[in-house]
């Protein structure tokens, strides 16, 4: 069953078309890679999917509990509620807040008490907050961050900040997770560890994952299918093996010279 379908998605900034007639389809439970050279429009595609940008044209359909819903042009928080969560390429944590708060904020949409209860700290507040903290710590444990729950997010080492981004996205209880270069800036050992973590959260939370990544070892190892984006257009789609040997992909990455040589 397709959980996320993107049809003819287009975004123009003035005269520049950053994303042009992109079609994607993610099946329930798949782990799909989105690769392409710098400036190919990968992050723009993510911004369109999550509602940060409004598409110029095209449809995005997200299926939640078997019911398809068109989400293009909706506000990011609505898209998030519908089950699409993301991380950011250039780490956008709430830097001056604690690790725990970063996670708790992402759980905001499911909070079970009203304003009055928050003003007066009524029993419903105490109960819900306790539950919230418990759930947050459970999520943090997956990435071994529970011991640092009271540290400021900005004081975490770089790799852990990337992990926290993923935890925060998970806290919104998504069905589809978009990861924007989760291994950027990590060393091979860290990348290998991250690879395992991504696979394990996919199973544990029954996730469908779309992943932008430049680290080919990671992409080729864990993605079942790969889309290749170049100049805003999908130029190839297939299994890692197929992509590795695809002539257009090699051209896109290495330029025309290879062809002539």
């Amino acid at each position: 069953m397709a959980i996320l379908t993107v049809k003819d998605l287009t975004k123009s900034f003035g005269g520049l078309t950053a994303v042009s007639k992109v079609n994607l389809e993610l099946q329930q439970g798949e782990l799909v890679g989105l690769i392409g050279p710098n400036g190919a429009g990968k992050t723009t595609a993510f911004n369109l999917l999550t509602g940060v940008y409004e598409p110029t044209a095209g449809k995005i359909t997200l299926t939640k509990n078997g019911v398809p819903k068109e989400i293009q042009g909706l506000k990011p928080y609505t898209v998030c509620k519908d089950g699409l969560a993301r991380t950011f390429q250039n780490i956008r944590l709430f830097k001056d807040l604690t690790v725990l708060d970063n996670v708790r904020i992402a759980m905001n949409q499911n909070v079970k008490y009203g304003l009055m209860s928050s003003f007066l700290h009524l029993p419903s507040y105490a109960k819900a907050e306790k539950e919230l903290e418990k759930k947050s710590i459970e999520l943090l444990k997956i990435f071994h961050l529970e011991g640092k729950k009271d540290e400021m997010a900005k004081n975490l080492p770089y790799g852990e900040q990337r992990h926290l981004e993923i935890v925060r996205a998970l806290a919104t209880e998504p069905s589809v997770l978009l990861l924007d270069e989760p291994a950027a800036g990590m060393n091979p050992a860290e990348t290998a560890q991250l690879t395992e973590l991504i696979q394990s959260i996919r199973e544990q939370f029954n996730l469908t994952i779309l992943l932008i990544e430049h680290d080919m070892s990671l992409v080729m190892k864990i993605c079942e299918r790969i889309y290749v984006l170049d100049y805003g257009q999908i130029i190839a789609n297939g299994t890692p093996e197929e992509i590795k040997t695809n002539k257009r992909v090699i051209e896109a990455y290495l330029g025309e010279e290879v062809d002539n040589a």
């Binding site: 992050t43 911004n47 940060v52 940008y53 950011f88």
Partner: protein, 294 residues
């Protein structure tokens, strides 16, 4: 009909003043994204410098105007160097708060020296006291002076921004400060130059207002400053022709509200226009919408 045309003439005179002040706001905002609250006080200082030139030094109108412009240029550059430059990498709220601080400091500092009393500009003599009658309308020589000076100054500004090397640097820095710096443009001196230009225009506006309305006081800049800022926003902040259009529009609206409606509400109408523009088209009449890069 005559009354209508008379209001238009008055509106254009007042609008010229707003346009001159608005240009300073818009250029500074364009280049460092700061609402320079102190700008309206440079205008006030210009009025006082002109006043002292005419009374204590017994100078004529034109020398006074030039001296006020030069003095305001120096003041504007000093404000930038002392208060804003150290905060180049601070948050925008921090710089805005500093700007409010500088503005209050100039206002109440000036009050210490010249007292809060209203002072009257010396009466104009010679051709500047003339009035011209066309039918039932009156055009004063002062109004002609205001409009003519504005046109000359704006033409000069347009020439500097479009044709000179410094103007090119200003436009480059306002587009992308870092890229401009990499291209060998001295960003600091370009910003200083922008403050210098804006302050000179504000100084001129101060003297012209003194001549036109005949009274000056240390807090005279606050309300016109806000209105000029509204004018800059109306035309599209950062855009020089936008500030002109905005200035004339706000000036005319204000005169018409006083003339045909209730003059007590003239300020409220200007602020209401501001809020409506910000809601309907925050980028202003000539501006383009931009969105933050993620």
């Amino acid at each position: 009909m005559d009354n209508f045309l008379q209001q238009v003439i008055n509106g254009i005179s007042l609008g010229s003043i707003y346009a001159l002040i608005a240009l300073g706001y818009t250029m500074v905002y364009g280049i460092i994204k700061l609402i320079n609250f102190a700008h309206c006080d440079v205008y006030m200082l210009g009025a006082y410098i002109g006043y002292f030139c005419m009374t204590s030094l017994k100078l004529g109108v034109f020398p006074s105007l030039v001296i006020a412009m030069l003095a305001c240029t120096i003041i504007g550059v000093l404000i930038e160097k002392i208060a804003y430059k150290p905060l180049r990498n601070a948050t925008r709220i921090a710089v805005l708060i500093t700007a409010i601080g500088v503005s209050l400091f100039i206002e109440y500092g000036t009050m210490r020296f010249v007292t809060a009393n209203v002072r009257a500009y010396p009466p104009m003599t010679g051709w500047l006291a003339e009035r011209f009658k066309i039918g039932n309308m009156t055009i004063t020589a002062q109004q002609i002076l205001i409009v003519a000076s504005t046109i000359v100054l704006v033409a000069l500004l347009q020439f500097i921004v479009k044709k000179t090397k410094m103007g090119k640097a200003m436009r480059a820095v306002s587009l992308d400060k870092d890229a401009a710096e990499l291209m060998g443009i001295n960003v600091n001196s370009t910003i200083s130059f922008t403050f210098a230009l804006g302050s000179a225009l504000a100084g001129a506006a101060g003297v012209l207002v003194g001549i036109y309305y005949n009274s000056i006081d240390p807090l005279m800049g606050v309300i016109p400053g806000l209105k000029a800022f509204v004018a800059a926003v109306f035309g599209g902040i950062g855009i020089i022709p936008g500030a002109m259009i905005g200035g004339y529009f706000i000036g005319t609206v204000e005169v018409f509200v006083s003339g045909y409606g209730n003059s007590l509400y003239k300020d409220a109408v200007v602020f209401a226009i501001l809020i409506i523009i910000l809601i309907v088209k925050p980028a202003g009449l000539l501006g383009k919408n931009t969105k933050e890069k993620v």
